[in-house]
């Protein structure tokens, strides 16, 4: 079975993905974004890229899918400057090991 790749985010950030054949869903606020994610998860999307400022706002939706093998939801950098993707990894390390040993610098 083949799966699809999708992108969620504000128009300017995700438009480029359209040219690569991704399923592009425009979302400007947290509500639309989490609706999009739910819809995509049930429609055969295995990898979902989402701009990280949106990602930070819909943590609950993301966590819902974190324990199943698909979909994999990946925050991508946008112009907000924060690095939410690293935050998720860091969080996982702290939860699994009990101390932050990778990002202690």
């Amino acid at each position: 079975m083949t799966y699809k790749i999708g992108a969620v985010g504000p128009r300017s950030s995700v438009l480029g993905f359209m040219a690569l054949g991704f399923g592009v869903f425009e979302a400007d606020n947290a509500e639309t974004a989490s609706e999009c994610i739910d819809k995509m998860a049930h429609n055969g999307y295995a990898v979902i890229f989402i701009t990280q400022s949106l990602c930070a706002q819909i943590k609950e939706t993301i966590e819902k899918y974190s324990s199943s093998p698909v979909p994999s939801i990946v925050p991508i950098p946008d112009d907000s400057g924060t690095d939410y993707g690293e935050e998720i990894l860091k969080d996982a390390v702290v939860r699994a090991i009990g101390a932050d040993i990778l990002y202690k610098d």
Binding site: T2, Y3, K4, S12, L15, G21, I76, E86
Partner: protein
């Protein structure tokens, strides 16, 4: 702490002893599993961290390129240019088993990645540049998705396993040990009680016999 209520019999003792040995073996196995999971997890996270840095950098470059492209191109032309993808973004998944955790492996076929599917007349070179940057980092992005998913799944499993190890180590095994000790002491106590009773009975019997012997001539 809650104690196991048991009858102090040899049957119970035997049962508890075998359960204790099973618990000990399970504890050892789970501990090994946890250690191996940790090792795998750290490896994956290290890779994911590096890849994320790389992708983030590439993405920033792409973003600035795309921004300037969209500033220079008409909005409608832009949309039109991007609407028809050259490749179908399709993904194959296989599953791998790491210490009984099922993790996905994404296979993205990026064969026909180069070249744009739009006329060059109405768009600028910046757009071509930005898109080729994006498509060249696509493989990395998919790999990143795979690594991050793997690390999250492993993290869950490590948490679960650690909880089990701790439950065995600090609750189950001590409980069994205490219950076994209680039964052993009770049994020993019974044994001692029995022995003193026997000794007492023996004494009484000897006394009775002596008395009987003494009494014989006098009676006659």
């Amino acid at each position: 702490m809650a104690e196991i209520k048991v009858n102090p019999t040899r049957m119970e003792l035997k049962k508890l002893k075998s359960r204790l040995s099973v618990a000990r073996r399970g504890h050892k196995l789970l501990k090994d599993k946890r250690d191996e999971l940790m090792r795998q997890f750290l490896e994956v996270v290290k890779q994911a961290k590096e890849l994320r840095r790389k992708v983030a950098e590439a993405f920033r470059a792409y973003n600035t390129g795309f921004e300037s492209a969209s500033a220079l191109t008409d909005k409608k032309m832009m949309q039109e240019a991007l609407m028809l993808p050259r490749t179908e973004g399709e993904l194959k998944i296989s599953y791998r088993n790491i210490m009984s955790v099922t993790v996905p492996e994404f296979h993205f076929d990026a064969s026909s990645e180069n070249g744009a599917n739009y006329g060059y007349a109405f768009t600028t070179g910046e757009l071509d540049d930005a898109l080729s940057k994006l498509s060249s980092m696509l493989g990395d992005m998919v790999r990143l998705a795979e690594l991050e998913k793997t690390s999250l799944l492993l993290c869950d499993e490590i948490e679960k396993t650690r909880r089990r190890v701790n439950a065995l180590e600090y609750i189950m095994i001590p409980q069994y040990e205490r219950a076994i000790k209680v039964i052993a002491m009770k049994l020993e106590e019974n044994e001692r009680g029995n022995r003193t009773r026997l000794m007492k009975v023996k004494d009484m019997m000897i006394k009775a016999q002596l008395e009987a012997l003494k009494g014989v001539p006098e009676d006659e």
